[in-house]
Symmetry: C2
Subunit: 309 residues, 2 copies
């Protein structure tokens, strides 16, 4: 499974509408599911859009505004009610765990799975997770409470050994591993096979950046440069630029400016204020700056193809 | 406005389905809106079913299981975001206020309206609210955490003075008030008019009882006797009676037994386990005991007519 795709579970700002839930997303990295933010109603959105919820292994929470985490305790309880045993990792502001524990204590719930909490700090970018599949780093955001964006980057995979080279040679594991990591191979006859002749390139690692909630802030540009997919909040249109500045939210045009200046491949805007009954104005204003922009709708899936450099 | 009606906002047990949200209801008492329980997603259900949310003046929470209160912090925040200034009264388990305050503290929110919390005790029925329109009393329930049901009873209204008697007499306020309260009236000519001749009866006070979550418990019968409308949980059908006993939930048949023995006028069952794809089995089993039973669906409105004794 080579998927790398984001499912939008909520595209509204703080006040939901019948068609837009507040913020949550699922990132599928080769079958590993990661939830990013968890507004009230997220568990139902997951069901509605056919996500296998017990496959979620990690949750990242950007900041402590209700429209980004009020569904978290419900989802954690649902995992429990459905008999989850697999560990769940949670990354977010330090205050989050107290809220969860207070809720569980009041309902006398002892989770039947391990909830492993990683408190995040703010103000400087950090690598907050890494395994052999992907790496996650935080991006400090400019908002009214401490907030982090997140960048998810696939780890480069080992090189692939050509089938016609392997067949009949019966090579031991340590040799195979060396070739996958780029080593040349000298065969029993003393002949050296250059790595480039006996392997093919792995796919190019893909990347996704999630930036919400935030005012316009060019400081993020080096942290999200050339990502395949950028989600950037666009709470307002041009008419509310002043309000955006005051409330530390971004306009669609500002989101597009970040996308253009960071030379990302594709931009998805969301976190739309409920004042906009339809978002074509925001989309048009963004596309004037960065044509490869899409407006998030609940249930949308934005995928990045596997490609070879 | 003489309404006395309940709108079902959620009819599922702990695990919601796409068609059933977990528990919440709005009781409309002559235009005064009271929310009873507040599962995750309640704010959206209120919008979906056209309830004027700022008219909600009181919220009653039965117990600290998530499917009865995980939407509360979101709703309290929504009131705030929409600019509410009117006081909100909240009645529920003592632990509730700590959870709300911890959430608000983390988002640095200072509500722009007064949230007046009334911690409830458990184990004995109490009158927990009363004004000139209605009275609310608690009903101890049999559940795995402390839980209260609630009975809402209209206060008997003053008698109505007949129009043909008033006209032309120009009676002072204190005399009118006395007649409305049942006094006879002696006119300037010394003639006594019996109250019964110059007034008509006020409507019969209506009543609604809400009992969830609870195991089967005949102890509630005297507390809900002859109410117009009873909502009683019916998590399970007969096939799960043993599970119901263990989990302190009721079967549909047990709910109907309470309704029959308390001689209520109408029963609505709800809080259905997600194991039942459709609830006709539960409804049929209840109707064998108490024919005037209805199965709750999200969005249903159950009203009690105004009537005169």
């Amino acid at each position: 499974m080579m998927k790398f795709e984001v499912t939008i579970l909520g595209s509204s700002a703080a006040i939901p509408t019948v068609h837009r839930n507040p913020t949550a997303q699922v990132l599928n990295i080769r079958g590993r599911l990661v939830l990013i933010d968890c507004a009230e109603g997220t568990q139902l959105q997951l069901t509605r859009f056919g996500v296998s919820i017990q496959k979620i292994s990690q949750i990242f929470i950007s900041h402590m505004h209700g429209d980004h985490y009020y569904g978290l305790v419900g989802l954690i309880s649902k995992f429990h009610l459905l008999g989850r045993q697999k560990e769940l990792e949670l990354f977010g502001p330090p205050g989050l765990i107290d809220i969860i524990e207070l809720n569980l204590k009041n309902s006398k719930t002892r989770l039947n799975y391990e909830l492993k909490f990683h408190p995040l700090s703010f103000g400087a970018p950090e690598t907050i997770f890494e395994d052999n599949l992907y790496q996650v780093s935080s991006v400090p955001l400019k908002h009214s409470v401490p907030a982090n964006g997140f960048v998810f980057r696939e780890i480069i995979q080992p090189r692939k050994i050509r089938k016609d080279f392997i067949s009949g040679r019966n090579l031991p594991y340590n040799i195979l591993r060396g070739i996958k990591q780029g080593a040349d191979y000298t065969d029993p006859d003393g002949k050296t096979h250059l790595n480039i002749d006996i392997t093919t390139d792995p796919p190019v690692p893909r990347s996704y950046a999630y930036l919400t909630d935030t005012g316009y802030d060019p400081a993020v540009i080096p942290l999200v440069r050339e990502v395949d997919l950028l989600y950037h909040e666009a709470t307002f249109a041009d008419d509310m630029e002043q309000a955006a500045r005051e409330k530390l939210h971004a306009t669609a045009r500002q989101a597009a400016t970040i996308a253009r200046d960071a030379r990302v491949k594709k931009l998805v805007i969301g976190h739309f204020s409920a004042r906009y009954k339809e978002v074509s104005t925001l989309l048009n204003q963004a596309r004037e700056v960065f044509p490869e922009t899409y407006a998030a709708e609940d249930g949308d899936i934005h995928g990045v193809e596997t490609y070879y450099g």
